[in-house]
């Protein structure tokens, strides 16, 4: 531990948080745009700062893309009235959005988003129990939702909170079990080591496809995205746990949801799709030059954004599951499948050794 370490860590934290926030802001835009395209619409294409009128070609093009929409959204969230309904449990009501954002932001700390730039490893905390850390932090995410539901003192948010606590515990188990084959194959809990193994042997999705599928579905459930968005099912529960929230507190829940999406996309890329590696142009080895390091960061971002798009895309493919179907799927389909998967992988490894 010395000063260099502390300074570089702080810089990395600042950059990663900034980038994640940026991705979150623009994934809201992407969500709106992709939804629009799938539904034969155009999507946000008007918002622009006043001076954009005077920029030729580029100005109208960027406006058409809706690049400035997130800024307007953010501003709107900031200046809206922050309303606290009567009868809420004030402390929890104020605490809940923060409690839901913090774990979402903490998860990205252990994810290696690049090999190295110079002597610096491109990961904030190179823990040797990286995966367990992620699962632990993800499991804390439920508190925000449960507290929001409890604090609102209103029946629909309460239902949302109760549903989400049951849903998240259930799918956490499938999620944890689905990763075990990966750990068996690699033999390490460190995410950096897992990527290192993949650069030598090929992507893990080829070795454990069932794991990937279960992990992906479970992460949909963990981030409360369709088809598992029961905690906020707007047709039944108005808005679920964030019904009573407004202004920036409401925005924080959105921030948490999208940060969770970023984190689980990053986890999927790291665990199953080789992280920052690509199997050609020598991109599968830790970078020697600065340019290579930057390129690998962009490879990671590209892979991650692909999964973000999948998250958004899937939203328009399926209707929402019913609550009993959700539980049935989690406990009676994915859990046995994951267990069988562990068994098969273990036997396969045993036969090979």
């Amino acid at each position: 531990m010395d000063w260099n370490f502390i300074i570089f860590s702080l810089v990395k934290i600042a950059i990663v948080v900034g980038v994640v926030q940026g991705i979150v802001a623009y994934s809201v835009l992407a969500e709106r745009k992709i939804s629009a395209w799938i539904q034969d619409r155009v999507g946000p294409n008007r918002t622009a700062p006043p001076f954009m009128k005077f920029v030729p070609v580029l100005g109208p093009f960027l406006t058409r893309l809706g690049i400035f929409q997130p800024l307007a959204d953010g501003l709107k969230f900031l200046v809206k009235e922050d309303f606290t309904p009567a009868g809420v449990k004030k402390i929890y009501f104020w605490l809940a959005p923060a409690v839901s954002v913090i774990p979402a932001m903490l998860t990205v700390a252990v994810i290696p988003f690049g090999s190295n730039l110079g002597a610096q490893k491109m990961v904030i905390a190179d823990l040797n129990v990286g995966i367990l850390y992620t699962f632990g932090i993800v499991s804390m995410g439920v508190y925000g939702i449960v507290l929001a539901g409890y604090a609102a003192n209103s029946k629909y948010p309460f239902f949302g909170g109760i549903r989400s606590s049951a849903q998240m515990i259930s799918y956490e188990i499938s999620m944890g079990m689905s990763v075990i084959p990966v750990l068996l194959i690699v033999g390490n809990l460190n995410l950096g080591q897992i990527i290192g193994w993949q650069s030598g042997h090929g992507w893990l999705v080829a070795y454990a496809p069932l794991s990937f599928i279960i992990f992906m579905v479970a992460s949909f459930a963990e981030t409360n995205r369709t088809p598992f968005d029961l905690p906020e099912a707007e047709t039944e529960l108005v808005g679920g746990y964030h019904t009573e929230y407004s202004s920036m507190k409401f925005a924080l829940f959105f921030l948490a949801e999208y940060s969770n999406m970023v984190a689980s996309s990053a986890m999927m890329v790291t665990l199953f799709f080789g992280g920052w590696t690509l199997p050609f142009w020598g991109l599968d080895q830790p970078a020697q030059s600065l340019a290579m390091g930057v390129l690998q960061i962009f490879v990671f971002l590209a892979k991650m954004l692909f999964f973000m798009v999948v998250f958004i895309w899937v939203r328009w493919m399926f209707p929402r599951f019913r609550y009993d179907q959700l539980m049935d799927l989690g406990w009676r389909t994915f859990l046995p499948l994951a267990l069988v998967n562990i068994l098969i992988t273990a036997v396969w490894l045993w036969l090979r050794s």
Partner: protein
């Protein structure tokens, strides 16, 4: 700068962190048991979550990384959510503040005194720190130990889990046929 570096390398930061985490743990634990501001079980549960998190900080200082993660994952992530779930399900009202019974207080203090005497005795018979290489949080070694020397307890615990699961399912059925 030099001095600070020495301090950092000499473990002073870890000592400070120990005091911070220990204070947090104890403070939150007090608030679990006796909160002067709220009698709601939800508050107790939330402070227990904080206790557990700061305890996993202590585990980190003890270089038990695996256990720190498991502590958060199992205790804070599952057990306490279960607690919250049940509290909300039962819709417990804030309980009225009742008079502390003299008998209860006396019994409590006596039992704490007994525990304290055991603690003092055990401190007296404490051996100086054993020699040997310091253990880092070796997940691998832990797993190896778990599946070789402790295989039988491991199996028994898994059977216990199964039994607990069946028991809970039976208990939570509304009617036993």
């Amino acid at each position: 700068m030099e001095q600070i570096n020495n301090l950092v390398n000499g473990g002073a930061v870890e000592d400070v962190l120990f005091y911070v985490f220990a204070a947090l743990t104890l403070l939150c634990a007090i608030l679990v048991v006796a909160n002067p501001f709220s009698r709601s079980p939800v508050t107790s549960a939330m402070f227990l979550v904080l206790t557990i998190i700061s305890m996993s900080g202590l585990f980190l200082l003890l270089h038990a990384f695996f256990l720190a993660a498991v502590q958060i994952l199992v205790y804070a992530g599952a057990v306490m959510v279960l607690f919250l779930f049940v509290i909300m399900l039962l819709d417990l009202k804030e309980e009225a503040r009742r008079k502390i019974k003299f008998f209860g207080l006396a019994a409590g203090l006596v039992s704490v005194g007994i525990v304290f005497s055991i603690f003092v005795k055990s401190l007296a018979s404490l051996q100086p720190e054993a020699a040997g290489p310091a253990l880092e949080g070796e997940t691998y070694a832990l797993g190896k130990l778990l599946f070789t020397q402790y295989t039988l307890p491991f199996e028994i615990v898994s059977v216990l889990l199964l039994v607990a699961m069946i028991g809970v399912i039976l208990l939570s059925k509304r009617k036993l046929e």
